[in-house]
Subunit: 218 residues, 2 copies
Amino acid sequence: MPARTGRPPRISRADIVAAAHRVIEADGVGGLTMRRLAKEVGSTPMALYHHVRDKEELLLLLLDEYAAGLPRPDLPADPRERVVVVALAMRDGVAGCPWAVDVLRADDLLAVGALWYPEKIIDAALDAGLTAERAVHLYRIIWHYTAGEIAVRAAAGRRREEGGPTYRDQVFAGLDPAALPRLAALGGRWAELTAADTYELGLRALVDGLLPRPRATG
Amino acid sequence: MPARTGRPPRISRADIVAAAHRVIEADGVGGLTMRRLAKEVGSTPMALYHHVRDKEELLLLLLDEYAAGLPRPDLPADPRERVVVVALAMRDGVAGCPWAVDVLRADDLLAVGALWYPEKIIDAALDAGLTAERAVHLYRIIWHYTAGEIAVRAAAGRRREEGGPTYRDQVFAGLDPAALPRLAALGGRWAELTAADTYELGLRALVDGLLPRPRATG
DNA sequence: ATGTCTTTTTATACATGTATAGAAAGTAAC
DNA sequence: GTTACTTTCTATACATGTATAAAAAGACAT
């Protein structure tokens, strides 16, 4: 029986989240400010703070909904391949939500709505014979790798939007070949070489190295 | 012959960076605001912007100096072990600079002052027989992994400072064991299991998987 | 000296997240 | 009805990064 006292609320968390969706739809996540959001819900900025701790929590709520709607791919029987499939889906999911990067620095869990991913990775790891401890370690390592890949990729994308010479262009322009021969030799190929999507390559290395080798099929 | 015209500058980039060091020394990086910094150099906030594009560039300059001073460990002969040693040093270096996280989202290179790390990793990879392309891929994968590890760790640390129940505590509190049996079974052990430093574990898996196996010693 | 040109510095202004204080709008006790 | 209490909402204020416009300060030509 919740206390029925006090001034009745005019807006709810759900209203706010819904309004945030509309704002983002219209102006992108960059246009989502507390003032604009307040206007959208027909209230004042500070009123929002009674339903949401701060903007980051709001973004987490949005991310959570988004994450809950991410596709859950069909999983193969082989545990190793299962980890790969889940991780790839996780990466694609987060990458599709460009502003997720601002929030995913939160913890080693993406969002409640995305718990399916660690669940399945840990499940596969246990099936492959890892202890609970090792399974969690595997998940975390994959998560760190994934988060880093997404963060770097997102930042690089943002730079590209801004135009102008990239940081690394400047870096490679004035490079001392005596001190850094390998990098100097790579020269202008850096951009080309780092354009490739190496996520799966690293992912498979992690899985290969951290899951026990399967017995040879007899 | 640089143009000798125009109003003579009262402050220089170097002054600004030096003042920034003093401010950070005194109040931490959180206390470094453009206004405070202006006071420290004896100027006005907007004057800084003639010597520095924005605050991020300033932080990059600071990071660069910091990175240039990082220790360069002695490297073993074995390329595989060399990659591990360099990567560990890189991780430790960045981790020792907590605010680096705010900037390292910049690119796949940490900072000019820290180019030694990719140089040595790529060098080792080439020594191990990888093509230039593969060597760069290895470096990038390691960098993504490292950046993610540091970002997550830093964010978790920040949360802990703020006190209150962690996000993941809340997550594990209301967990549906039917939908997520593995996570539910882990229950309260999550915190304990994720406290471990798994960086080297993942790192070695990456190196094992991405560098060609050494020939058996005869 | 005076005016023009360039570079650096200053003053002011704005948008943002959010702290703080208090007003408003209900319920419950009397 | 009046008063007390609780919850929600509003108004105002502040710190922050930084845009913009104008002022200052020197070099140079005349």
